[in-house]
């Protein structure tokens, strides 16, 4: 073993259509209660309804009215989820200079960006910049240690969690508030993903439109939201008697260097990323009890990811779940949301089912959890993110052994 410090997950916060608290999110997943709705467009191509929007969201109590005016919706969601995570952790108990923030976002303030094109106001730049969320969280939590934003499309949230782990290991922070956020439900963004053929644009039953690993899948469904975790040096968390959901033990990142938007079809980059994360965690594939898949519901992702998983773990050997069937795909949010789900899986000893999976694509040699939640033993659980751009990121969480 190395002398680097172990890291605990001590706080969780989420804001998305599938839940405005971790408990609500978990309940949605256990019951396969879909938060997914489809974008609908009128004849002119204008969005009539955005997909998987978080309805009734209000940042009051977290941001003052002036602060709401100065922030994109994406950042408002982020601040709420981050502050919730810190409250859940029982507060931050290290000096300001030992606190850090890492945010991940794919699209930054894209709503503000589109609204201001050709007519920017004074607040245009600080509203749309990708690092706006990181600023607001540092300001709200008096974080004067490192803060940064990573932007690796759909892997942003996982990279944020992994980079936070590295900060604590390297000794530059003791507590990191890390997560991802995106609010990309604009007409232009939706049309772009629809025209590219990556997003489902029509389906008879919109609630079950997101169907990872299902033979009838048609693509992903956009979602919005934010998810944050409080990561803390395990010894400090123990010393203050904090509840520890899980330990964060491994981080892997690789690049496909293959195609702008498609994963390498044999999943080589994805497999290497999982292997790296497991090695970093000091464990092996045969010890892994559960895989929280990237599972977007695009044919290209599902096949490549399934190949990578079955090559590494053996065909149908490890229970796999794909939360995006319930949550939709929140881009930079996704990896952080799934890290939250993975932490809950470790704590509860349960792999939630993958909703809407009626007929597994026979090309995916996976043991996908369907129907009922499945009990999993203590042990390492891996969460995957594989992004446009070929950016792969995986994190490993484990049971907090005493």
């Amino acid at each position: 073993m190395t002398g680097r410090p172990a890291v605990a997950v001590t706080g969780l916060g989420v804001r998305c259509a599938a839940g405005s608290t971790p408990d609500e999110l978990w309940d949605s997943l256990l019951h396969g209660r879909s938060a997914v709705s489809l974008h609908s467009f009128d004849a002119e191509g204008t969005v009539v309804h955005p997909a998987s929007a978080m309805r009734g969201f209000d940042a009051a109590g977290y941001l003052a009215p002036k602060e709401v005016r100065r922030t994109d919706r994406s950042v408002q969601l982020a601040v709420c989820a981050a502050l919730d995570a810190v409250t859940d952790a029982g507060g931050l108990h290290v000096p300001s200079g030992r606190r850090a923030v890492v945010t991940g976002t794919g699209y930054g303030g894209v709503i503000s960006q589109e609204n201001g094109i050709g007519q920017p106001d004074v607040l245009y730049a600080p509203r749309l910049m990708n690092n706006a969320g990181a600023y607001w969280i540092t300001a709200k939590l008096d974080v004067t240690g490192p803060s940064l934003t990573v932007s690796t499309a759909c892997s942003s949230g996982t990279h944020a969690v992994g980079e936070a782990l590295q900060m604590i290991r390297s000794g530059c922070a003791d507590v990191v508030v890390a997560g991802g956020h995106d609010s990309p439900l604009t007409p232009t963004t939706a049309l772009a993903f629809g025209r590219a053929g990556a997003m489902v644009t029509s389906r008879a039953e919109p609630a079950s439109a997101s169907r990872p690993f299902d033979a009838e899948r048609q693509g992903f469904v956009l979602a919005e939201g934010a998810a944050f975790l409080v990561l803390e040096r395990l010894d400090l968390a123990r010393a203050r008697g904090a509840r520890v959901y899980a330990t964060l033990t491994g981080y892997g990142r690789t690049s496909d260097a293959y195609h702008l938007t498609a994963p390498h079809p044999d999943g080589a980059g994805a497999r290497a990323c999982m292997e790296q994360a497991l090695a970093d965690a000091g464990t092996t594939a045969d010890a892994v009890t559960h895989v929280n898949a990237h599972g977007t519901g695009t044919e290209l992702n599902d096949l490549a990811e399934a190949r990578a998983i079955s090559a590494l773990f053996g065909p149908r050997r490890v229970p796999v779940t794909a939360p995006k069937a319930v949550t939709g795909h929140g881009l930079g949010l996704a990896g952080a949301l799934e890290a939250v789900v993975t932490a809950l899986s470790v704590r509860e000893g349960i792999a939630p089912p993958t909703a809407h999976l009626t007929r597994l694509d026979p090309r995916c040699e996976l043991d996908v959890v369907v129907g009922e939640p499945r009990k999993i033993p203590d042990g390492p659980v891996i969460s995957n993110s594989f992004a446009f751009g070929g950016h792969n990121a995986c994190v490993v969480l484990d049971s907090p052994h005493l």
């Binding site: 005016r69 100065r70 607040l123």
Partner: protein, 93 residues
Amino acid sequence: MEAEHGDVWEALRPLCARVMSVPAETVVPHARLVADLGADSLDITELEVASEEMFGVSLRGTDKSGVSTVGDVADLIVRLRAGAPGLHSPVGR
């Protein structure tokens, strides 16, 4: 001048309320921008830009050393619209 002042005030009041995110009823002539309405540098910049569009005058580059209250802003706008000489500082930004 009085009628002019009234027009400016009618438009300036909701503008200040919006920019500073405060209730319109708190925007009274003697309300101080910073001390009472909580304005910071971003608010002041936003107010300057909006004033250019709304009143057709440039507050940027003018001497605002005597400007403290909303009423002072209204007075400055009225004077600028009347083309009062000596109000424009030689240094723009």
